[in-house]
């Protein structure tokens, strides 16, 4: 559907006004290096406005509200990232005052990598997340198969329960879990974190696996059965090619989600070495040398999901429910 001329003109006007405002504010109020950022943003916004007017009365399938939204989203995402990068690359003893990086040093990255605290924390996070994912996946796959494929009574309720667990604030569980771990005498051990982390991995994995299972062509399984496949052949010739890739992506997403858990780690681990990385970054910044190192570690930690997204963009997009052309 082509948007109406009126809607495009409104989008142009809004975008132009925003750009004009940002440009003036930047020129009048902001000091030198950052001024250029303000001006760049304002130029892009005002050009969008101009393009909106030019294309207003054409049949091109472009929504300028969407373009404007995309631009604002980009700014809102990139500015915090740029700021984190700025903090991470600021030399010791200097307080960053501008957004644009100046006197870039990479010392903090070296510090973050060589810091024992951060290395232990990263190790804990990865180990706990990997184990929790490993335990959750077989359970989630079977649960999702049952939810999608078996005509069990009450499966809607079970699915609703899975979704509720997914939306539940994990922090609410951290206290009771901590009490239990203290009673069991394992409070503070790395492995003790695995079971509470299942609260995050299990519902998420089940929910995503349900999507995978729903999209599988079960008619094909019937055909494979009618062709006379044994149980093992069904696994190899149907499950592996048709469900395998989806399940691997689910496992990776769940692993990343578990890695990024903050609440459980902060609530259940008193001290290093069992404190996971996100919690360490938040709570233990005093113990790590300076805020630069924390910012640097945060940026390094970001590489994990980034790699995942770059490697499997199509599957992830598809899985998370976006149509992808």
């Amino acid at each position: 559907m082509t948007p109406s001329v009126r809607s495009r003109l409104w989008a142009s006007a809004v975008s132009f006004a925003l750009g004009f405002g940002a440009g003036n504010y930047g020129v009048l109020m902001i000091a030198k290096p950052d001024q250029w950022l303000w001006i760049a943003v304002s130029v892009v916004l005002m050009l969008t406005g101009a393009a909106g007017v030019l294309f207003a009365d054409t049949a091109r399938a472009v929504s300028f509200w969407a373009v404007l939204g995309g631009e604002i989203f980009t700014v809102l995402t990139l500015v915090p990232l740029l700021w984190t990068f700025r903090v991470a690359t600021t030399p010791d003893g200097v307080t960053p005052r501008t957004l644009w990086p100046q006197d870039v040093t990479w010392a903090a990255f070296d510090g973050a990598i060589s810091s024992d605290t951060l290395r232990d924390a990263a190790g804990t996070s990865l180990l706990v997340a990997a184990l929790a994912t490993l335990v959750a996946m077989p359970l989630a796959v079977s649960a999702a198969y049952a939810l999608v494929h078996l005509a069990a009574p009450g499966r809607r309720w079970v699915y609703g329960f899975v979704l509720a667990a997914l939306l539940m604030p994990v922090l609410a569980l951290a206290g009771p879990f901590a009490d239990q771990l203290i009673d069991l005498g394992v409070y503070g051990s790395r492995l003790a974190l695995v079971i509470p982390t299942l609260v995050i991995t299990l519902p998420l994995a089940t929910w995503l696996c349900v999507t995978v299972m729903r999209e599988a062509s079960w008619g094909l399984l019937d055909a494979v059965r009618a062709d006379g496949a044994t149980r093992r052949q069904m696994l190899r010739r149907f499950a592996l090619p048709h469900l395998g890739p989806g399940i691997v992506v689910v496992a990776l997403l769940v692993f990343v989600a578990a890695c990024n858990d903050f609440a459980l780690g902060a609530g259940l681990a008193p001290d290093r070495p069992s404190l996971p990385l996100p919690a360490t970054l938040m709570l233990a910044s005093g113990r790590v040398d300076g805020s630069s190192a924390v910012a640097a570690a945060g940026l390094l930690w970001l590489l994990l999901p980034l790699a995942l997204l770059l490697l499997l963009p199509r599957r992830i997009n598809h899985l998370l429910g976006r149509s992808y052309r």
Binding site: S217, G219, L220, D222, A223, V224, R225, A226, D227, G228, A229, T230, Q233, R237, P241
Partner: protein, 388 residues
């Protein structure tokens, strides 16, 4: 090779009506059976039950006179073509064709490859062997699904609506090569189809199925000449048989169009019914001035007005309207509701020779051979003309 037998096969449905309703069917070794019926008749369900993908509530499936109720699909070894083709998207056509054969140990690679090429040749797939299903059009995909079963060496072959996606021009060809190959290898096959003409022209025997129930099984000729009930009569043939309400009156049967004499045995079978349904095939109606009409000795005749004419080249259809009482119409609507199928019209279709000069509005004298008129019970649908 193998015979298939079904005994009192019943599958309960979610509602009151069963999905499969006490089905008894025998497919002798090496023959082809077509199951035809409107969509939703339970044809696919029946095939899936024979293959072993669905379980019946009661009754037995016998393959080669052995009850296989508890045997899994692998043990039954019955090939099936699915309505949705069920191809593997990640395999090319060759691998799809080979798929079912490589699931069993001890196949000969060279022999299998030869067989695949032979089947591909038969179904015009030779140039497509290296393509994936996504690169094929619907008709080609369906032929791959068909080929996958033909390549396989199974006990019996089930085809669920196997020719629907073929374009009109190719369909007859695909159908004949498939059935021919099956017959040459004397393989037992069952196929389902929506098309009556396909069922009648292709199979050794035809079963007419509706609402999970098999109304009649027989050779195409038996079904056409002596339909067991009103549904079979109304479903077979194109255009279908005219079903006209009629009222027995002593020796006579009074229809809205004309009156015919009844034989004694038929009078006896009609008994004290006050209303019956007369079935007349369009192709049994003749223009009184034509040569065919002159040859008819024992005849029913009536004169009426032509409402409309459709000229078809080889023949022409004359639509002859008639009036029926509202209460009779209500009774017929009730029967249609019960059957969930449109059987009755308020006009009679006559298929006449193309030579007769006919115009809408003119009056025509129609001649029907008396022995060709069927009489049905409107409530049970039973064909009263057939000797019991």
């Amino acid at each position: 090779m193998t015979s298939i037998e079904l005994r009192h096969l019943t599958t309960d449905g979610p509602g009151a009506r069963p999905l499969l309703d006490d089905i008894n069917l025998t497919v002798p070794d090496g023959t082809t059976l077509a199951i035809t019926g409107p969509s939703g008749a339970g044809k696919s369900r029946l095939l899936r039950t024979i293959v072993g993908l669905e379980e019946q509530s009661s009754g037995d499936v016998l393959i080669d006179d052995i009850v296989v109720n508890a045997v899994d699909p692998r043990g039954r070894d019955v090939a099936m073509v699915f309505q949705d083709f069920a191809l593997h998207p990640h395999l090319d056509v060759f691998d799809n064709l080979a798929f079912s054969s490589i699931l069993r140990k001890g196949y000969d690679k060279v022999e299998l490859s030869d067989r695949i090429h032979e089947v591909a040749e038969l179904l015009a797939l030779t140039d497509l062997l290296e393509l994936r299903p996504a690169e094929l059009d619907e008709a080609q995909r369906q032929r791959v699904a068909l080929g996958r079963s033909l390549v396989r060496d199974a006990n019996a072959y089930l085809f669920d609506a196997p020719f629907t996606a073929q374009p009109e021009r190719v369909r007859t060809h695909v159908r004949s090569v498939t059935i021919q190959r099956q017959q040459e290898a004397s393989r037992t096959s069952i196929f389902t189809t929506n098309s009556v003409e396909e069922a009648l022209s292709t199979a050794d025997r035809v079963a007419v199925m509706h609402q999970g129930f098999i109304h009649q099984v027989g050779t195409p000729r038996e079904l056409y000449d002596s339909p067991a009930d009103m549904f079979v009569a109304g479903y077979l043939g194109s255009p279908p048989m005219n079903l006209v309400p009629a009222f027995p009156d002593g020796q006579q049967l009074v229809t809205p169009l004309g009156t015919m004499l009844l034989d004694d045995p038929l009078i006896e079978r009609i008994g004290d019914r006050s209303i019956v349904v007369a079935g007349i095939r369009p192709e049994h109606c003749h223009d009184a001035t034509s040569v065919e009409a002159a040859a008819v000795k024992d005849r029913v005749e009536f004169t009426t007005r032509i409402d409309d004419v459709e000229w078809r080249g080889s023949s022409q259809f004359a639509y002859l309207g008639y009036e029926i009482e509202p209460e009779i119409e209500a009774l017929m609507a009730e029967v249609e509701d019960l059957l969930e199928f449109d059987l009755f019209q308020s006009f009679l279709v006559a298929q006449l020779t193309a030579e007769s000069v006919l115009r809408a509005g003119m009056s025509i004298r129609v001649v029907i051979p008396r022995q060709r008129v069927h009489v049905f019970d409107p409530e049970t649908g039973e064909n009263l003309t057939l000797p019991r």
